[in-house]
Amino acid sequence: MTVEPGEFCAVVGPSGCGKSTTLTLVAGLDQASEGTVAVGGQPVTGIGRGTSFMFQTDALLPWKTVLGNVAMGPLFRGVPKKQALTDARDWLRMVGLTGFEDHHPHQLSGGMRKRVALAAALINEPSILLMDEPFGALDVQTKAIMSNELLTLWDQSRPSVIFVTHDLEEAIALADKVVVMTAGPGTVKAVFDIDLPRPRGSVQEIRFGQRFTELHHEIWESLRDEVTRAYARTSALAGPVPAVEEVPS
């Protein structure tokens, strides 16, 4: 599996296939026991400077203000405080949170917290952005809005993105390339290029297009077997396995 510079790559696969682990390996948070992970041709040996990570659960510091949370990245990297705070204000404006600088995370809604996390991840100007089901906990409408904003912000600096999700529609709407992973020993099963033109516009509307439906059908064919197999493994003791036939919408 290779991700080109500036490419938006989504990874889908059944639960427990190692999608999240892949991200921690790329980030340098864990070391691979077998195989190699290389960034820019160099094997990953530690946490790289050009990488940002957006986690599934909130990783904002609850005792810091919104501004403090966003300014954290530059401050850790030795940017002078004044500069870091100015940058943080700029980023908060870009994610539409001007006026919330002095709030604490628990005072914000789930979607707003995700915006803060997005600003905190992008302020370091990463060349690689790793996202582990970042919008998984959001309601459908908020998720769609956040997806649109992510695409807009991504388009400005074009980092390489690895976006882990188990929402196939989200994957197709956002990505240039969708990687399907196998159940159990998580290996790459297939890679699908998403030839939908950019800019994509609203992710709510793109999914009604004919090409979107075709791609969805094609990738789901591939993903379905893996999901069935993973399900069979977890419910082996629970009786016969129902076949997954319906394409979820």
Binding site: S52, F53, A59, W63, M72, F76, N124
Partner: protein, 265 residues
Amino acid sequence: MTRRKLQVHAAQIAVLIFVFGGWQLFTTLKIVDPFFFGKPSGIVSQAVSWVRHGTSFGSIWLQIETTMEEAVLGFIIGVAGGIVVGVLLGQVRFLSEVLSPYIKAVNALPRIVLGTLFIIMLGLGMSSKVVLAAFLVFFVVFFNAYQGVREVDGNLINNARVLGASRMQLVRNVVIPSAMTWIIASLHVAFGFAVIGAVVGEVLGAQHGLGVLITDSANNFNADGVFAGMIIIGALALVAEWLISLLERRVLAWRPQMATEASAV
């Protein structure tokens, strides 16, 4: 709501009157011997006489000052030591594995008895009481700080690491603030231990302090004196508790509201 609160306060006052009134009544009627059990009015007059005429060891204020100075010094030293060692051992796995059996062993010792040892080593002055108080405080704070460091959300750590935090930045920005909830919670108990350390140290042997006053009263079969000393210590501990709650509210201001309700109990 306010009506309920009024009822609670009224009932609280009723309990107070019942206990002390009953005590006063029974001792006045000689059903219980006031010589051995003291008497509320006697306790008050004993306290007033200490304030007006002083005690056999100098003015009452000197006794209070001595005990408080020992307790506060012991508290500060114990808290600082507990936080530093707790965070260090929570962070450095090797150190904690090497030291943990020894810490458990020392913690299992009857620490009050160590007070006698400190008096042998450091004499009858204040230092032996300060060390005993610090020793008692240290363990309470240490175990909380250690646990607090261990319970830091791994997500927060990973996030800060990816953002570029060095080890020291991680400890200062993530680990210590996160463990602060645990550490502050331990301070309430810890100050109580500091006072116990100071008073017990004085009971074991000292020249000044409320503990000396209490032992002296006990040796003279002055039950009122023992109670008066106890009540003064209790009142001082309540003031300290209130100060710690103020600190807690300040340091943990970021927390959602529900936390203050729990501390009201």
